[in-house]
């Protein structure tokens, strides 16, 4: 299974296994990664699973769809590599993905 590394704000990084076809948000929630709130449960409706995709991964992960881009307006400290983790589908190609978790979600 692909591995994903989460780097919570000023905390130790956590590497978890994620099922292909699930989302990066689900991998975080299942493993109790701090800082991913996912208030809406993955409906792309709340912007509380905001992550920063590591620079060397951003190209492979890709840019957000318009709906996600709209929802990112509600996130804080949005950067060019910001994504909502509920909208990133896990694939074999994303094995080794690294994402940073912002200081706060809301």
């Amino acid at each position: 299974m692909p591995k994903i590394t989460f780097i919570p704000y000023r905390q130790e990084e956590i590497t978890v296994e994620a099922e292909v076809g699930s989302t990066v948000m689900e991998a975080a929630v299942r493993n109790g990664v701090p800082g991913i709130e996912a208030e809406c449960g993955g409906a792309c409706a709340c912007a509380t699973c905001h992550v920063y995709v590591a620079e060397d991964w951003y190209g492979r992960v890709g840019a957000p769809q318009p709906m996600e881009e709209d929802m990112l307006d509600f996130a804080f400290e949005v950067k060019p590599n910001s994504r909502l983790s509920c909208q990133i589908k896990v694939t074999e190609e994303l094995d080794g993905l690294v994402v940073d978790i912002p200081e706060r979600q809301a």
């Binding site: 208030e39 809406c40 709340c46 709209d70 307006d73 509600f74 804080f76």
Partner: protein
Amino acid sequence: MSERITTDVVIIGAGPVGLFAVFELGLLDLKCHLIDILDRPGGQCAELYPEKPIYDIPAYPVIGALELIDKLKEQIRPFGPTYHFGQQVEKVEKQEDGSFLIGTDAGVEFLAKVVVIAAGGGSFQPKRPPVPGIEAYEGTSVFYSVRQMEAFRDQEIVIVGGGDSALDWTLNLQPIAKRVTIVHRRDDFRGAPHSVEKMRELVASGELDLVIGQVSSLEGEGAALSAVVVKKNDGSTVAIPATRMMPFFGLTMKLGPIAGWGLNLHENLISVDTEKFETSEPGIFAIGDINTYPGKLKLILSGFHEAALMAQAAKKLIDPTKRLVFQYTTSSTSLQKKLGVQ
């Protein structure tokens, strides 16, 4: 000044579970008033995921969230519930006769024998942006909604956001303000196209300022704001003179005033028993996502079950002498009469 409504049951929260409670209580001849902070029924189904499919409602392999709400509204129509939207319940006080006085922030008061809290994840409140020290300005210089337009006349206003709320208030306040600046993190607005167009026209004619960036700090003295500092996407910062700021970052759910009603809480949820779904205060029930008990699952399905059992207990409380005969809607002519199908 305030009106007072007398009813059997006040239901706080008009999401799916609050709506279905009207049905179960209605079958037992109890009249309900529903109160919700949103301007329409549906709760999270309407606010968070209206277009999303739900796959675990019995007998519906798939149903859209808003479609579920529409069907529930249709199902409870025979019981004629009264809706009170756009207001928040602030107080629930037990009266000497055991009934409850319920008051909302819109000045409406209710006298009810039973209170049902079906408030889901709590009430939807505007999100506070993580700008250092913003709390000090809230209510004097920083506002999340407009109660009185006059408070904005001749002010230097910064409006933050790119959706309909931000655009609507930009367009509404621009004519009476000294100056309005709209700040958004990207030059792409998701509000209604004609509002975006109108905003762009005002910017083009020099009557409105548009700054692309994100608010990083506030300047001012005490509770009086003087400038909003915006970090532009190229890393430079600009201080925009401002006496008022309105941030529109969407909604989040907060337990809100419920926390102060003296009910037993467990991790921001209301503790209930699993026989009646009654709280630590007799006569106040809690159903749906807002409650907690051993084995609790936050499913709409569970909320429906809780509503049915709560209704039986509420009936006994309101009509203690009446013998309750359990009936099925399929075969009971009296229930069918109430549903208007006889």
